[in-house]
């Protein structure tokens, strides 16, 4: 018999002991290698890795203009006189500014702006009213977070008019002579992080998140449903791979796949749009890894729930739409109604977009992005748990 020779007493037993362990890299590698080969043979998938990012980058070249109101604003006011009160009141009345942050130092204000807690910092220097009365044209400094230029454009455009209105109502009595003619206040606007207000600066980092969302979820959401539809799941289940090994084996190749796209997007973003990179590339790639892992796992979770490829696709789009609309990619996050912001907060893409914009455009560091990193990690952990709970070990 041909295989008498291979029945040395110990060889299969050793293999069995090895195979019987709770975790085996060999089994993870088995699934990974298989997925890689299948991916490589599938031309469409391959085209998707390269084609989709470039297509999207070009298509989304222009942003949608919007007019968000009630953006959080911090003020630094040295003396609270009637003029200061009038100007701030008029700003609030305009609806663009929600003055809800009282800060006492410039450094604290800058930090809020960098974190994205506020969209504007308004500084009214000491002696403002006195200088105004003397006709010295004191400065009113408005710093705006121009990362997303469409979000602040209208407010900044209306600024002069707002100040003029404020002064008009206050310029009865001793200040009456200031009223007509040139605005007696020098309104200085600093657009921070994206001084030219170029919207592709905002769009390209956004697209990084959106493209990854689309491709990673879609690919992995088919991971198990494809096996079910082709009937190969029966074999997979009959062999000794454990649920977490299959999950790891199916997820890791798509993380690599996502990273290829990251490279394409970053390089194309640099070549086509000159998007700056102010922060640490390593930090960016680290967070991107976490983000890809989160969405790849989300896709896998879908595939444990969906009964067919069709269902998996539908669920993917069900997740994809709110991600695009409510994450702050399409519309400035702060411009959305509260309920939409609440939904947006539980979408991983929302946090990822904040992180990417912060790192690329503001040069944010690890502690600054942490508030948006832990929600990603939490989401990821939840997805792993759900996927493992939902994984069906039998054909029932």
């Amino acid at each position: 018999m041909a295989d008498v020779a291979i029945r040395e007493p110990s060889a299969p037993k050793v293999a069995r002991r090895r195979a019987g362990r709770f975790f085996s890299w060999s089994r993870v590698v088995a699934v990974m290698a298989k997925e890689f080969i299948q991916m490589r043979r599938d031309r469409l998938t391959f085209a998707m890795i390269i084609g989709v990012p470039i297509l999207q980058l070009v298509l989304f070249g222009y942003a949608i203009n919007t007019d968000p109101k009630q953006l959080p604003t911090a003020v630094i006011v040295a003396d609270f006189g009637p003029i200061e009160r009038a100007i701030l009141g008029a700003m609030e009345n305009s609806g663009y500014f929600a003055i809800d942050h009282q800060v006492d130092s410039e450094a604290a204000a800058r930090a809020s702006l960098a974190r994205g807690d506020v969209s504007y910092v308004i500084t009214i220097p000491a002696g403002f009213q006195r200088a105004l009365v003397r006709g010295e044209r004191p400065q009113l400094l408005v710093e705006a977070d121009a990362t997303d230029p469409t979000a602040t454009a209208n407010a900044l455009g209306a600024l002069n008019e707002i100040v003029r209105t404020a002064l008009l109502s206050e310029t009865t009595g001793p200040l009456a002579r200031l009223a007509p003619g040139m605005l007696p206040v020098d309104v200085v606007i600093h657009r921070r992080y994206n001084p030219e207000g170029i919207s592709s600066y905002n769009i390209v980092p956004g697209l990084l998140g959106v493209i990854l969302t689309m491709t990673t979820i879609l690919m992995t959401s088919l991971a198990l449903t494809r096996e079910a539809e082709r009937g190969t799941i029966e074999n997979l289940l009959a062999m000794p791979a454990r649920p977490y090994e299959i999950m790891a084996g199916k997820i890791i190749p798509y993380i690599g796949f996502g990273f290829t796209q990251v490279a394409v997007i970053l390089i194309a973003g640099q070549l086509l749009f000159d998007v700056p990179m102010h922060g640490s590339l390593v930090l960016l790639l680290g967070v991107t890894l976490l983000f890809i892992a989160t969405y790849v796992t989300l896709g896998y979770t879908i595939s444990t729930v969906a009964r067919s490829q069709m269902q998996a696709m539908q669920m993917t789009f069900f997740i994809f739409l709110p991600s695009i609309l409510l994450s702050g990619f399409m519309f400035p996050f702060r411009g959305m109604p509260d309920w939409a912001q609440a939904i947006g907060e539980v979408i991983p893409l929302t946090h990822f977009l904040r992180v990417v914009r912060a790192i690329m455009l503001k040069g944010a560091t690890a502690p600054e992005i942490w508030p948006n990193v832990w929600p990603l990690a939490l989401f990821w952990a939840a997805m792993i748990a759900i996927a493992l709970l939902r994984y069906r070990r039998t054909l029932d």
Binding site: R7, P12, G20, A30, Q38, E234, N235, A238, T394
Partner: protein, 316 residues
Amino acid sequence: MNGEPVIAVEGLTKSFKGKVVVDHVDLSVKRGEIVGFLGPNGSGKTTTIRMICGLLKPDSGSGEVLGYDILTQSDLIKLEVGYMTQRFSFYEDLTIRENLDFVARLYALEPRRDYVDRTLARLGLTNRQNQLAGSLSGGWKQRLALAACVMHEPKLLLLDEPTAGVDPKARREFWDEIHELAAEGLTVLVSTHYMDEAERCHRIVYIAYGKVIARGTVPEVIAGSGLHTIVVRGGDTAAIARRLKGRDGIDQIAPFGNDLHVVGLDPNRLERSVRDAIAGSDAVAEPDATSLEDVFIRLMSQSTDNFANGAGAGHG
């Protein structure tokens, strides 16, 4: 052969959407045996096999496979069982070799290359190892599937209609291979609905509508049916068949080439009726061994009746 049981399950029951498809099936298979699992389509063979290897959870019933509990130790069972699915379920976009590599890694077989090479050679797949599985004909797919499920040297093979749609020569080779494996001590449970394959098994179990209705060696099953057969040769068999229909003691009439097989339970009444029917023609009639096929047709029509009568009666 030594008598240690490899499969010992009792009362396996499974329903889908309220319909009982496997109904209190007991099965026992000893080491080194080749047991044929027979029954018409939809009788519950695949479902039973899936419960044995842990792919489906039985609604009730219990048992052991290779000494492991089928309800709680399916992880261990999977390590020592080779299951060949009814429908080809390897990856069509992988080559033969890549499929075997995948399996070898899943079972942590080391050195992997040696295991794969040996298995390829053993099943004559070496020359085709770089062909995509999807481009193979039925016979070669079957071979790949067999290769993949024997590579890790399992102790038990579960083969679900392994030769459906395979040409006779490939079927013959397939069975030779199975006998060789059994001779090495492997135990085999194989489902089929080919009669000639049933005869190549040490024992058979016949299932219809989810219930086991016959089991034993082929001669035992034939004897147990209580059927007698008379073969009518020559003359106008078609006319004779028409005349036989409905006569006392005749259960089945089936043409086999130029012959007519007439089957009944009571040999005397059977003989009388046949003699009457051929009187005046030049046909000759003589008793012959009852074929397995006749037995199965009889069993099937019986169980249909039972099923129709007893439907919904259920089990306590």
